[in-house]
């Protein structure tokens, strides 16, 4: 039985949401804050939806939880998710509030929570999900997330044992989560362009967790993503219940093997990280109980929003804004690689400096030594402009990566740096921006487009 306090908090939170909506805003944060203030154990007391799914991990959790929500909705279920709100406590609280009617009864078939991996200790025990889906664990912000071993211990400690966990067998760290719970694994089997030796600056989990021997990769994709075996004690990557066997980018199909059955699904995106996201979603839907045919139909109806890329072509030069998360060397290194391998002669502007640190603090620049600047040390990258307060640190990093000094420009102002881009003989100009710098990246883009239009 929920307490009187719980009902007061619920009504107050719902009222606040109504008021915020009348003011024309979303109301994804404040209702959660109010509910928690009035009833600190609100999450624990709230009735659960018949199906509750949490999605966490370093990269991909937003995409996976959005795609899962889309699929559940398209299958006819009423679903609430925190897709427009935060993935920390207030956002998840608001999600719960949205799942309840005014009298405190659950009004939906399912709740999907995107859960920040570090905040999971304050969320998972109370949401008490039926399923926890983990995309994988990588290094992320040193200040906030410390290191993957720490995030592992948080999820492992705080996820209730009753949750069934759906894990990425190709990511060794998170695949060792919740050893005493019900677990199923997914992965992508050997592919033609796989490697067998680590080649990225960041390559964690190379040692056997049992005996410390260096692991052998049956296949390796990037960083430490792949299938391993220990030559000393025989430890190996978990067996995959859901295994992607063939990726066909021409026909846009994805073949998945489950036991003896192979099923062909529509491929929703060609980039490997999004294929992992799709495999995760298919595995989760199958575990929830959807038949292969149903999953095929649902997958055919969903899309990955390409909001991270925004390009405009003027007089033969394409200007592209691409997200490159600051302090997140793994995802930004993959962006660097993607940009470097695009066709044509490229100029790159880096605008990844933290927006809040620049005001009152000094951003830690050590992460750039985990970031693969070496990707830009090639002939067809003709200019690298380091912009923002850390531009001088980035310049040193470029030099250590072997990028010739004459190709490097610096400017402590991102917007002013846009004037430094050479437009002569350049096919593509990339603005690599941190999420919080989106506004200034638009300003930068506008300036460059104006110059192109004026023929300067």
């Amino acid at each position: 039985m929920a307490s009187f306090r719980f009902h007061v908090a619920l009504v107050a939170a719902k009222l606040s949401k109504t008021v915020i909506r009348l003011l024309g805003r979303n109301g994804t944060h404040t209702p959660g804050v109010i509910a928690q203030k009035l009833c600190p154990d609100f999450l624990a007391q709230a009735p659960k939806a018949p199906l509750a799914i949490c999605v966490t991990g370093t990269n991909g959790k937003t995409t996976v939880s959005n795609l899962l929500t889309d699929c559940l909705e398209k299958s006819g279920k009423s679903v609430v998710s925190n897709r427009t709100g935060s993935n920390i406590v207030p956002g998840c609280m608001t999600n719960v509030i949205n799942s309840l009617n005014w009298t405190g009864k659950c009004r939906v078939d399912a709740t999907v929570f995107e859960v920040d991996e570090r905040a999971s200790r304050l969320i998972l025990p109370y949401v008490n999900p039926d399923y926890l889906v983990v995309t994988g664990l990588f290094r992320d912000s040193l200040k906030r997330n410390a290191h993957p071993d720490y995030i592992f211990s948080v999820i492992d400690t705080y996820c209730p044992d009753s949750a069934k966990v759906i894990l990425n067998a190709d990511e060794l760290c998170s695949s060792m989560l919740k050893k005493n719970s019900q677990r199923v694994f997914y992965g992508i089997g050997a592919q033609p362009d796989d490697k067998t030796e680590p080649y990225n600056l960041i390559a964690d989990y190379q040692l056997c967790p049992e005996c410390g021997t260096k692991l052998k990769y049956n296949y390796l994709r990037y960083h430490h993503i792949g299938d391993v075996v220990c030559p000393n004690c025989g430890l190996h990557s978990a067996d995959k219940k859901y295994l992607a066997t063939e990726i066909n980018r021409e026909n846009m199909t994805l073949t998945m093997r489950e036991g003896d059955t192979e099923t062909v699904y529509p491929l929703i995106h060609t980039a490997l990280f999004n294929i992992y996201n799709e495999v995760t979603v298919i595995s989760a839907l199958r575990e929830i109980g959807y038949q292969q045919e149903q999953v095929q139909e649902l997958i055919a109806q969903i899309h990955v929003p390409d909001s991270r890329h925004n390009e405009t072509t003027v007089n033969g030069v394409t200007v592209i804004q691409a997200l490159s998360k600051g302090q997140s060397a793994v995802s930004s290194s993959r962006t660097f690689e993607y940009v470097a391998n695009e066709e044509g002669r490229k100029a790159v502007i880096l605008a990844m400096d933290d927006l809040s640190d620049r005001k009152k603090s000094i951003e830690y620049s050590g992460w750039i030594y985990d970031l693969e600047f070496e990707q830009f040390n090639r002939d067809d990258v003709v200019q690298v402009i380091c912009s923002g307060p850390r531009c001088y640190d980035h310049k040193v990093r470029c030099l250590i990566a072997g990028i010739p000094e004459e190709k490097i420009q610096v400017n402590t102002s991102e917007v002013a740096a846009a004037d430094m881009v050479t437009l002569d003989g350049v096919d593509r100009v990339y603005i690599l921006y941190d999420c919080e710098n989106y506004g200034m990246s638009c300003e930068m883009k506008q300036k460059i487009i104006k110059r192109l239009e004026e023929g300067k």
Binding site: H147, P148, Y150, V154, I362, G366, P389, V396
Partner: protein, 237 residues
């Protein structure tokens, strides 16, 4: 000249690789040797000019101690003899003390080469910008950790912080400098951010240089950052 990097698979957690990459560009003829977890450290077997170990997870600290413990009597004289230079960055220094206390109060035995001890306090992360005096130079850097260290006597401390805290929130003494051991909580691009310290280190290795690679760009970055330390109400975390 041989430079040994201890356990790079698990001990280069926070951009620490940059220091060695840079040092290899300063010393193109030096041989850099990576030692794996289950191997006996090279410096216990042959002459090594520099031993470098850096940041790791708390779990990795315990893993490494489980391997290094068998050599502790061999390591102790090495630190005193002063043939090899030791540079321990980030929480690598905690391995040298008498113990590390976990959050639940239990203790992991350290190498016992010094009397100090460290105390973990996860989930409280201690983030700390630092500006500190070492000899006549001003070092700048950053520390981010779950632990503090207590009981390092002032006469062997590495540097004194002018901004930011030292080994724990109650002291401005930072790190250890005794014989040819330098150990500091400062992590990441410690060398690259501090060109004067690079000169010092190269001189200690017997390879003083008039000008180090990219020195002008490094000095520009250093000078800009030093100015930022003068921001009013600078937030250290």
């Amino acid at each position: 000249m041989k430079i040994e990097v201890l356990y790079p698979e698990i001990c280069t957690l926070f951009g620490d690789k940059g220091n060695m990459k840079y040092l290899s560009q300063c010393l193109p003829d030096a041989e850099f040797v990576s030692t794996e977890l289950n191997d006996k450290p090279l410096f216990l077997q042959e002459e090594v000019a520099l031993v470098y170990m850096c940041s790791m997870s708390e779990k990795s600290q315990e893993l490494i101690l489980s391997r290094l413990m068998q050599y502790k009597d061999e390591i102790a004289p090495m630190l005193k003899e002063g043939r090899t230079l030791f540079l321990f960055v980030g929480n690598a220094l905690e391995l040298l003390g008498s113990y590390i206390q976990r959050e639940d109060g239990s203790k992991v035995e350290g190498l016992g080469l010094f009397d100090f001890y460290s105390v973990r306090q996860a989930p409280n992360r201690f983030n700390n910008l630092m500006k500190a005096k070492f000899k006549d130079m001003t070092l700048i850097g950053y520390s981010s950790r779950f632990s503090h260290t207590y009981g390092i006597s002032e006469d062997i401390s590495f540097c004194k912080t002018e901004i930011g805290k030292g080994m724990n929130p109650d002291t401005n003494d930072e790190g250890i400098y005794t014989g040819k051991l330098i150990a500091t909580y400062l992590l990441g691009p410690l060398l690259i951010q501090n060109p004067d310290f690079v000169h010092f280190l190269l001189a200690e290795l017997g390879w003083p240089m008039d000008k180090i690679p990219y020195e002008d760009a490094m000095r520009e970055a250093y000078a800009y950052k030093l100015k930022e330390f003068a921001k009013p109400e600078l937030e250290l975390s």
